[in-house]
């Protein structure tokens, strides 16, 4: 199980060879230049920024709320045209009004308003407008030209034009709004879980590597044992212990993803602690925690940053997998994995429910992977 760690100090080999008069470029300046030249990485970064903004701001500016249910628009296909379709207005108007049990004349659609003459044997109850107000299709319902005896008039209503660019789901919720909130949840869990794995793994690995000896072998045996337990085992146990919540999900993912990180950092630390600057710090009487914080951990950051970027798509995938199994975020909140699993159940007849979330998730994963590869090439040019 113990593989040889990739022992390439990040700074080695990138020293500028331009001659001594040239202004020295730092490792990160150098990496930044290389990264900018990588077109796939730059494009990925742009895509990610756009998607992240969509996840952050999108739900606020989207025309529909992610949990608003439109009972009249269950499973409507994706379309740029506004709903209701012209042919649907009159039947919807008449069927809604039919429940008022009054006589309805010929219904007319005039631009954005629908009107129908109505009459009854008794004086008209003004409350019958509610039958139409309740529908998602009509708003601002009113009775006009009420006759003196109150038994006839004209029912008027504005047609609410609603757009469902990506269609709606089985409950009549706008898929676009749900995808936007799903992006937010998926990205947030990816970033938070990776941050947690980062902190845990770096601390653990640095301590194990720096102390070495028995402490190291005990700590690494523990990691080996965790490795051999299936990931899903932990998560399910955590879920049954603490219930299903957003915070728990990223803790669970972070708690299972730190193992690789701790191995990488341990390997780096093993080589670092033999170097002169660490010995110098020890000779000067620096404390162990000080050496770890000031000298060891900053020097492991190169590979750690690269690994962390590749960890984010992994965490997003794990979250999606959990949601897919029904262990992730709970309704009405949603994530891309949950949307995809709903789509998978509805592939007969409602393909848009699968296609749009799947494309979104794929885009995020591609962008993160390309960016991670680009960062690796930029920070560690030897490892191509």
């Amino acid at each position: 199980m113990t593989e040889a760690p990739n022992i390439v100090p990040a700074a080695a080999g990138i020293a500028p060879a331009d001659g001594e008069m040239a202004l020295g470029r730092s490792l990160f300046q150098d990496a930044w230049r290389r990264l900018r030249r990588n077109r796939a990485a730059v494009a990925s970064a742009v895509v990610l920024v756009v998607l992240a903004l969509a996840g952050l701001i999108g739900p606020m500016v989207a025309p529909h709320s992610y949990d608003r249910i439109y009972p009249q628009y269950v499973r409507v296909p994706a379309s740029f045209e506004a709903y209701p379709k012209e042919d649907d207005i009159v039947p919807a108007f008449e069927s809604a009004l039919a429940r008022a049990r009054i006589t309805i004349g010929a219904t007319e659609v005039n631009g954005n308003t629908v009107s129908a003459p109505i009459s009854d044997d008794e004086p008209l109850d003004p409350r019958i407008t509610r039958y139409l107000d309740r529908s998602d299709l009509f708003s601002n319902v009113r009775i006009d030209q009420l006759s003196a005896d109150g038994r006839s008039g004209v029912m008027l209503a504005d047609v609410s034009r609603l757009q469902f660019i990506f269609g709606t789901d089985n409950n009549g919720r706008d898929l676009l709004a749900r995808i936007l909130i799903g992006i937010r949840i998926s990205l947030a869990i990816g970033v938070l879980a990776s941050a947690m794995a980062l902190v845990l793994g770096v601390t653990y690995g640095a301590i194990a590597g720096y102390y070495g000896g028995k402490i190291d072998s005990v700590m690494m045996r523990i990691v080996d044992i965790f490795y051999s337990l299936p990931f899903i085992f932990f998560v399910i146990l955590l879920v049954v212990f603490f219930g299903r919540s957003f915070i728990l999900i990223f803790i669970a993912i972070g708690a299972t993803e730190w193992l690789d990180m701790s191995r990488i950092v341990r390997g780096q630390t093993l080589t670092l602690k033999r170097q002169e600057f660490v010995q110098a710090a020890e000779a000067l009487g620096a404390t162990t925690s000080g050496i770890l914080k000031r000298h060891i951990i900053p020097n492991t950051l190169g590979p750690v940053v690269v690994y962390a970027t590749l960890l984010i798509p992994k965490a997003i995938l794990l979250e999606s997998l959990l949601s897919f199994l029904g262990l992730g975020v709970q309704e009405p909140l949603t994530s891309l994995g949950l949307l995809i699993s709903e789509g998978a159940e509805n592939i007969r007849g409602a393909t848009w429910l699968l296609i749009f979330p799947a494309v979104t998730l794929t885009m995020i994963l591609f962008a993160l992977n390309f960016l991670g590869d680009g960062l690796r090439d930029a920070l560690d040019p030897k490892d191509r």
């Binding site: 199980m1 051999s228 299936p230 049954v240 212990f241 994995g337 995809i340 998978a344 591609f366």
Partner: protein
């Protein structure tokens, strides 16, 4: 060699023991139990049930009892599927999962190494770029996206293959394709990287200098060295695939063992979860051993004694 194999198995026992112990106690500490129903039932019935499953004894005794039965190859009765023992469930489900996982691994190995070698031999040509592109695609798109889309295209839209289910002719194609695709991509990538490196190494140059035919250089000398990372990758992966994939088995409705774990943990089917943990651990141990033996065979520098 036989001694080495025996020693490896012996060293796996403590690992298995630790895994079983952790799993057993973590599972029991979790709130809830297998007999929690939405409707309250007669406490007398509960008591009888508990006695039937040995749940009335103190936890340490139950643990010893479980270990004792495990040593005899008895995984106990299932808590939620009352008519079956866990051994039965694995006897039904494991062949299905192994069949699908094994086929997927075989396909991934063959196609992955061929594509990877092709790409390495024609490095920076259109062959290389398309293999790398397809590989990136296969690695990035998760199985729970691939599976429903394959099912949509070939099962629903064209209707060539069953969209799900098990037993009908062709019902294995889509699940195997879903499982094989990412593995094939990873194998192709690993082979490509290793082959590029091996082709530059001294012993290949020597072989060429001797005037060996190029196919001998390729198949005898290069492939043998460049397949090493693939072997070490495929060991644990094969164990994971053969013990069933939750996603694939759920989407295609396959009666494998992939779903046992999740269902068992949610229903507090203690014996089923423990059984799954044990089966997975055994597969991992066995496949790691196979990898090590293959290593010694492929790389003459590796020696076990």
């Amino acid at each position: 060699m036989l001694l080495y194999v025996l020693r490896r198995f012996a060293s796996a026992v403590p690992t298995l023991f630790v895994i079983v112990t952790i799993a057993f106690f973590m599972l029991r500490l979790a709130p809830g139990g297998p007999f929690d129903l939405e409707r309250p039932i007669d406490p007398l019935i509960i008591e009888n049930l508990k006695r039937a499953f040995n749940m009335d004894k103190p936890l340490p005794q139950q643990y010893m009892l479980y270990l004792w039965n495990l040593l005899h190859g008895d995984l106990g009765p299932s808590f939620t599927r009352r008519d079956f023992t866990v051994n039965d469930l694995f006897r039904f489900g494991l062949p299905v999962s192994v069949q699908i996982g094994g086929t997927a691994i075989a396909i991934a190995l063959v196609f992955g190494t061929v594509l990877g070698s092709l790409a390495a031999l024609r490095q920076n040509s259109w062959v290389d770029y398309s293999v790398v592109g397809v590989a990136t695609f296969g690695i990035t798109i998760p199985p729970f996206v691939v599976a429903p889309i394959l099912s949509l295209i070939f099962g629903v839209y064209f209707g060539w293959l069953p969209a799900g289910g098990w037993g009908a002719p062709g019902s294995m194609v889509l699940p195997v394709a879903t499982l094989a695709l990412p593995q094939m991509a990873i194998v192709a990538r690993l082979t490509r990287g290793a082959t590029i490196e091996v082709l530059r190494s001294n012993h290949i140059r020597t072989a060429r200098a001797y005037g060996l035919p190029s196919w001998v250089v390729l198949y005898v000398h290069t492939l043998r060295a460049s397949i090493l990372p693939v072997v070490s990758y495929l060991g644990p992966t094969a164990a994971a695939l053969m013990t069933g994939s939750v996603v694939v088995e759920t989407i295609f409705g396959i009666p494998g063992i992939g779903r046992y774990f999740v269902q068992g943990a949610l229903g507090r089917d203690y014996t089923l979860v423990m059984g799954t943990v044990v089966v997975i651990a055994v597969f991992v141990v066995v496949f790691n051993l196979i990898v090590d033996i293959l290593y010694a065979y492929l790389d003459p520098r590796v020696r076990y004694d």
